[in-house]
């Protein structure tokens, strides 16, 4: 124990050993280690640093080991920052330092990282009211960098405040606040054992599917929770390897891995074929899509849909002949596509029905037709998978059918343990999130107009209906045109921001955009755009999954890698092995593409929705803390600042100035430093920012100081400035804060300087001398012309110094008077 690795500059020491694992028992598991003089133990929360990432990831160490080749690995259960799951948060405003624990199964739950990626300890406190959670004191919460009480299911994409018994194979008590961490050793291993035995069978089946579907490896990782079974260990390494082929994990343990990899390749050959066919076909689909978007009449929509449907069917057939497994996944895809068509056709129809009540019946008929055709489609698709759907009449059955198909898929895949997870997540996502929502919304809208369909529907989806219904009605009532237009703007704006992809995505986007535009004209613009936006987003996330499937084909894969890496250097949400580059990994492609999708969305959310929420929050806060004096403490994540070198200030400032997020705060106490100003902004406005005090010079006022503040968004900057302008933010020492957005460029080199004279004729010569001279400084001697001139300068300077002094004194007096006035009236 405790051998320091050679060639490693950062101090490192292993701590308590836990056991051996791996095929040759050459993988050592540890309970603690000391890295860079910080003691880490199992289940500690840590920051993980990734190059190019401004914000560190936060995760919990759930396993620590060293491979036989001395590479050190940690397995990390992730926490999500609210901004990473903004899409699923809805209107809810999370606590400012709130995190969401990853749970469920799927990509993003947990993964293996090099131990060196750990950047520091992070104090995360669980504030769940759960009885299993030892309550944390207020002080603890105050001291915590982050708190969490909710989980985010990565498979279902749901936020829940219930914490499951077991997350990523870790018992809940290790995840919640710890009472005593030492006692738990033996039990932890037990639980691992249990977990292993519990998972052994499904995984054994899952391996095959893993090998031809890379994305499943994400599932495999969280499940390979083992210290004992060598197979599991090797498999974990395999996932590791497939994830980052560049890792030098060429340990003995990885040898079985390679064989598995070759297996992967073999397996993936049929997959490739299939992938290419999917490619071709999806492009076909796109064509029909394109066609369809051009066509505006609803009937033609139906026609082309049928055509497309035929395409899909043939596609599905091919798939099923190629491979059952693939077939089922294609069903999901086609289903998804159907789904979109369906709702697309329906939403306009409903919109029009809303528009003119006289046409209501006709439109309803049309939508009925669309439903029927859709149901037919579904049934034909379903037939291929061997589970014939019972096509029910009525409008509200689609949802039920969807679940049926989902079930079918589940049944199909029952013996394919890990693929099922993904498939179902693919299937579930649309149906639970978009499906349910869209369907419910649609039906609820219809409910307002016509009660025909609701009764049957309500039985089907009684889950969120009440809530959603409310939301819908609200949205419906508040036909906020401004909002809808902004929404529209956002939606239109988004595609332009996204890099161009020559795959189906773009087409989809365009289409969605059109779709949204079309919807935007309706009277229920607000609601429908909302539907459309969630829908679009969902469809895109699905799409990326589809692409993942396509990316079994190496060429496609590479292209995607290039695109995703080139265009989006700052991916926020991927839960990837950190600090290691991996180009040829489809997994990565998908994740980064996901972020590509999500990132603009996030921005947009920030632009469009969040400011509202935040101002509201601010107002609330204002009311609550009104009249009370607040002490500024350190910002909760204060020490994070020290770890990550940000861009040079000049660049940040310039960029920020261009974006209009640069604010000049005036009338600060000269004693404040940049850190204090950041804290003040944080406490006063609940906004994060980067600040820099303007360095004092001889010209600066001795009474107050200025600071340049870079905000993250335009809105934040605007809000702060207007609030400062309208209200009165009084700092200690009777200093009302002043802020304004900096509207003149701050850069540019000083060009002219008065007072240095050169005789023209001698200029050239002088310049040469200047270049050659080592030092060109000297004290002037009293008998020269230079000295006389210098004296003139000194005189001038002295005069001005006097006037400056007088000015400052006078200003000081004025301020004193006014301030004493302020104090007297207290």
């Amino acid at each position: 124990m405790g051998g320091v690795d050679e060639g490693e500059t950062v101090e490192f020491r292993w701590g308590k050993k836990r056991g051996f694992g791996g095929k040759k028992k050459d993988v050592r598991f540890y309970e603690s280690f000391n890295y860079d003089n910080i003691e880490y133990t199992l289940y500690d929360c840590v920051y993980l640093y990734k190059e190019g990432e401004s914000e560190p990831f936060i995760g919990k160490l759930i396993k620590i080991w060293e491979n036989s080749d001395k590479t050190r690995r940690v397995k990390v259960l992730w926490f999500f920052r609210p901004c990473e799951i903004l899409n699923y948060l809805g209107a809810e405003v999370p606590l400012d330092n709130e995190l969401f624990l990853a749970s469920g199964e799927g990509v993003g739950l947990a993964n293996v990282n090099p131990l060196e990626a750990i950047a520091g300890k992070c104090n995360v406190v669980c504030i769940s009211k759960d009885e299993r959670n030892p309550p944390s004191s207020d002080e603890q919460v105050q001291l915590a960098d982050f708190v969490f009480y909710r989980t985010f299911d990565v498979g279902l994409c749901e936020i829940s405040d219930k914490i499951k018994e077991n997350i990523a194979g870790i018992e809940v008590r290790f995840i919640l606040n710890r009472q005593d961490l030492r006692k738990s050793d033996g039990v932890a291993i037990d639980s691992d054992k249990k977990k292993v035995s519990g998972n052994a069978t499904p995984r054994a089946d899952g391996v095959e599917i893993d090998s031809d579907k890379n994305k499943v490896s994400g599932n495999a990782v969280p499940r390979t929770e083992t210290a004992i079974l060598s197979k599991d260990a090797s498999e974990e390494h395999r996932t590791l390897k497939t994830r980052d082929s560049s890792t030098k994990d060429a340990s003995e343990e990885c040898r079985p891995l390679e064989t598995e990899d070759s297996l992967t390749k073999e397996k993936s050959t049929p997959g490739e074929k299939h992938g290419s066919s999917v490619c071709v076909e999806s492009s076909q689909i796109d064509e029909t899509r394109n066609l369809r978007t051009r066509i505006s009449s609803e009937k033609t929509i139906l026609n082309s849909k049928d055509k497309e449907n035929a395409d899909l069917d043939s596609l599905a057939q091919e798939k099923s002949t190629l491979r059952k497994n693939c077939g089922s996944s294609v069903y999901v895809e086609s289903f998804v596509i159907d789904k979109r068509n369906y709702s697309q056709a329906k939403i306009p129809s409903e919109k029009t029905s809303l528009k003119s009540k006289t046409r209501e019946n006709e439109d309803l008929k049309v939508s009925l037709d669309t439903h029927k055709s859709f149901l037919k489609k579904v049934s034909s698709v379903g037939a291929h998978s061997g589970d014939v759907m019972k096509t029910n009449d009525g409008l509200g059955n689609t949802y039920g059918e969807k679940t049926n198909t989902r079930l079918n898929i589940n049944e199909n895949a029952e013996h394919k343990a890990s693929s099922i997870k993904h498939l179902s997540s693919v299937g579930e996502k649309p149906s639970s999130n978009v499906g349910v929502k869209v369907a419910e919304k649609d039906y609820d809208i219809r409910e307002n107009i016509d009660d025909e369909a609701t009764s049957s529907f309500q039985v089907d989806c009684n889950r969120n209906q009440g809530k959603v219904c409310k939301v819908i009605v609200n949205e419906f009532d508040n036909e906020n045109k401004v909002k809808s237009t902004t929404n529209l703007d956002i939606l239109e704006y988004r595609p332009s921001k996204r890099p161009k992809l020559d795959n189906p995505m773009k087409v989809f986007e365009e289409k969605n955009e059109n779709h949204v535009k079309k919807l935007g004209h309706g009277p229920n613009a607000n609601a429908s755009t909302k539907i459309a936006s969630t829908f679009e987003e969902k469809s895109k996330s699905r799409l990326s999954k589809t692409e993942n499937r396509l990316s079994n084909k190496p060429k496609v894969e590479e292209k995607l890698v290039v695109q995703s890496d080139g265009k989006l250097p700052k991916a926020t949400s991927p839960r990837q092995p950190l600090g290691e580059e991996n180009m040829a990994d489809p997994q990565r492609v998908v994740v980064s593409q996901n972020t590509k999708i999500e990132k603009p969305r996030l921005n947009e959310m920030r632009d469009g929705k969040l400011p509202k929420a935040s101002t509201k929050q601010l107002l609330d806060e204002e009311n609550t803390i009104d009249r009370q004096v607040v002490k500024v403490n350190q910002r909760p994540d204060a020490d994070r600042r020290k770890w990550f070198k940000e861009l040079p200030w000049e660049e940040r400032m310039q960029a920020s100035y261009k974006q209009g997020t640069l604010v000049l705060l005036e009338n600060l106490d000269p004693a404040y430093t940049s850190v204090e100003v950041e804290d003040i902004v944080w406490h006063g406005f609940k906004t994060r920012c980067t600040t820099k005090m303007v360095q004092r010079t001889a010209y600066s006022s001795p009474h107050s100081a200025q600071a340049l503040v870079v905000f993250k968004t335009n809105e934040a900057a605007q809000t702060v400035v207007t609030k400062l302008d309208k209200g009165c933010f009084l700092l200690s020492n009777e200093r009302p804060l002043i802020g304004r957005i900096v509207n003149h460029s701050l850069q540019g080199k000083q060009s002219t300087f008065f007072g240095h004279l050169v005789i023209d004729k001698l200029r050239a010569q002088m310049q040469r001398e200047m270049k050659e001279a080592v030092s060109t400084s000297h004290c002037s001697q009293p008998n020269t012309l230079e000295y006389d001139m210098a004296m003139e300068w000194c005189l001038l300077q002295e005069r001005w110094d006097c006037s400056w002094k007088k000015l400052r004194q006078g200003q000081g007096k004025e301020l004193e008077e006014l301030k004493s006035n302020l104090k007297l009236r207290l």
Binding site: S732, H756, L757, E786, L796, W804, L815
Partner: protein, 200 residues
């Protein structure tokens, strides 16, 4: 508390640094770090030189810098010498000016230990609100006063520079003429005219 003691130690170290440092201004933009280093190495050994960036003031104000010396005595010496003799760096005749540095001039200063920042929002119906608004206005006014003063100072400096340039030019012309007297034989002619002997 350990961290408090640490912060205090940090700050006293910083104060030591402030005492070692000279604030220099009226520098030409050509004065780079290395130029300053060589210039001030004549008075002792320079530890570090930091040019203070000018973000907000007009671009024509002279550059200023912080020069950290090895010892506080050296800093004091520089200030007194530069007060007595005009010291030129990278050009003349405008001398540079040296002052004792102040904590606020430093970019990387630590937090003042024990500094408590408090804040509150004032309600518009608060009687103090009006006063505070006045304070805000006054701060703004003071800032514009200062910028006006600075502007007129710069104007005067420009004027002085032009005057000096003109007088320098005239002086130079004079000297050049005197120089030329011999070479163009004017002196010789004059001597001949007045019957004076001209000694070389």
């Amino acid at each position: 508390m350990a961290s408090k003691a640490e912060a205090e130690a940090d700050y006293s170290l910083f104060e030591e640094k402030v005492r070692r440092t000279v604030y220099v201004d009226n520098l030409t933009p050509q004065a780079t770090e290395s130029v300053l280093r060589t210039a001030f190495n004549q008075f002792g050994s320079v530890r570090s030189v930091q040019l203070i960036p000018n973000y907000l003031e007009p671009k024509t104000i002279p550059q200023c810098a912080l020069v950290e010396m090895e010892k506080p005595d050296q800093a004091k010496e520089i200030i007194s010498i530069l007060a007595q003799y005009p010291f030129m760096i990278s050009g003349m005749p405008r001398p540079v000016r040296a002052r004792a540095a102040e904590p606020g001039m430093f970019d990387d200063r630590p937090t003042l230990p024990g500094l408590k920042v408090r804040w509150r929002w004032l309600e518009p119906n608060d009687p103090k609100f009006e006063v505070a608004t006045k304070l805000k206005g006054m701060t703004r006014r003071h800032a514009s006063e200062a910028s006006f003063l600075l502007k007129s100072q710069l104007d005067q400096e420009e004027m002085l520079a032009k005057e000096q340039a003109a007088s320098l030019k005239a002086n130079y012309k004079k000297y050049e003429m005197l120089d030329g007297l011999k070479t163009d034989r004017t002196a010789h002619h004059l001597a001949h005219h007045y019957n004076m002997g001209l000694k070389d």
